[in-house]
């Protein structure tokens, strides 16, 4: 699991790559927390490089979304591929979170 942060205009973009499962979820949450704490308004999680996600990984994304909402910000998720996209859909996350297929439309949607 690798987590990197970019800033595009006024949006914090966090790329999560690799595997987000029980073995990596705690470390991912710790790292993500730093960016969540620093983020003021728009927060985008880009999953283009994510190869695998389990429910423990879903919990990380859900916690992040709840935190952003609680402090009046907005979180979106983009670029999920393959099995990751499938897991998000089967879990009903497509109705729960603002999911976008690509990063650019997601940025424009804030």
């Amino acid at each position: 699991m690798e987590l990197t942060k970019r800033v595009i205009d006024n949006t914090v973009v966090v790329d999560i790559a690799g595997k987000l499962d029980t073995q990596t979820a705690a470390a991912a949450m710790d790292e993500l927390q730093l960016h969540l704490d620093a983020a003021e308004g728009n927060f985008l999680v880009n999953l283009a490089g994510l190869e695998f996600i389990a429910s423990s990984g879903l919990r990380v994304i859900l916690r992040a979304a709840k935190q952003m909402r609680a402090k009046g910000g907005t979180m979106k998720v983009c670029s999920a591929r393959g099995v990751v996209k499938e897991v998000l859909e089967i879990s009903g996350f497509d109705a729960l979170l603002d999911l976008h297929d690509e990063e650019e439309p997601a940025l424009k949607a804030f």
Binding site: Q23, F52, A54, S55, S56, R59, K66, V87, S91, L96
Partner: protein, 139 residues
């Protein structure tokens, strides 16, 4: 392939490596192997976390086989009698604030597998799951 794990958290990595090795040697497609990895992550974590009052005391057996054009995963443990498959489906319509994704794991397991069964025999929980090999062109 048959491997024996103890009920410590570090055993998940051992199981995942075994799965990868088996998938490579048996020519299992990436999609099927990923579905199996999801199953192991969800079910083994449940067993290790909740199945035993004392950590590290019992053996969990993981069997991986190709049976009738399916990848078969069998997990046998001697923890508390518990059918992980017999849980109510999570309410996927709840709003964000009320969602508790903890119940999602089993839902995912059922969705990603083609067949699943549970039995309790000789004081062991036996969960058997199957995923069809060579998925259709739309997958």
């Amino acid at each position: 392939m048959r491997i024996e794990l103890n009920n410590n958290c570090d055993q998940l990595a051992v199981a995942m490596n075994a799965l990868q090795e088996f998938a490579d040697s048996a020519g299992v497609s990436k999609a099927v192997a990923q579905a199996a990895a999801l199953v192991l992550d969800e079910l083994l974590v449940n067993i290790i976390s909740y199945g035993y009052p004392d950590p590290g005391r019992d053996v969990i057996t993981l069997e991986l086989d190709i049976v009738d054009d399916h990848l078969q995963i069998r997990i046998i443990d001697g923890g508390i009698a518990f059918n992980p498959l017999d849980q109510p489906a999570p309410d996927l319509d709840l709003p964000l604030e009320q969602r508790q994704p903890g119940g999602l794991g089993i839902h995912l397991v059922k969705e990603f597998m083609d067949d699943y069964a549970y039995e309790y025999r000789d004081e062991r929980n036996i969960v058997t799951l199957r995923k069809k090999l060579q998925p259709g062109p739309d997958q």
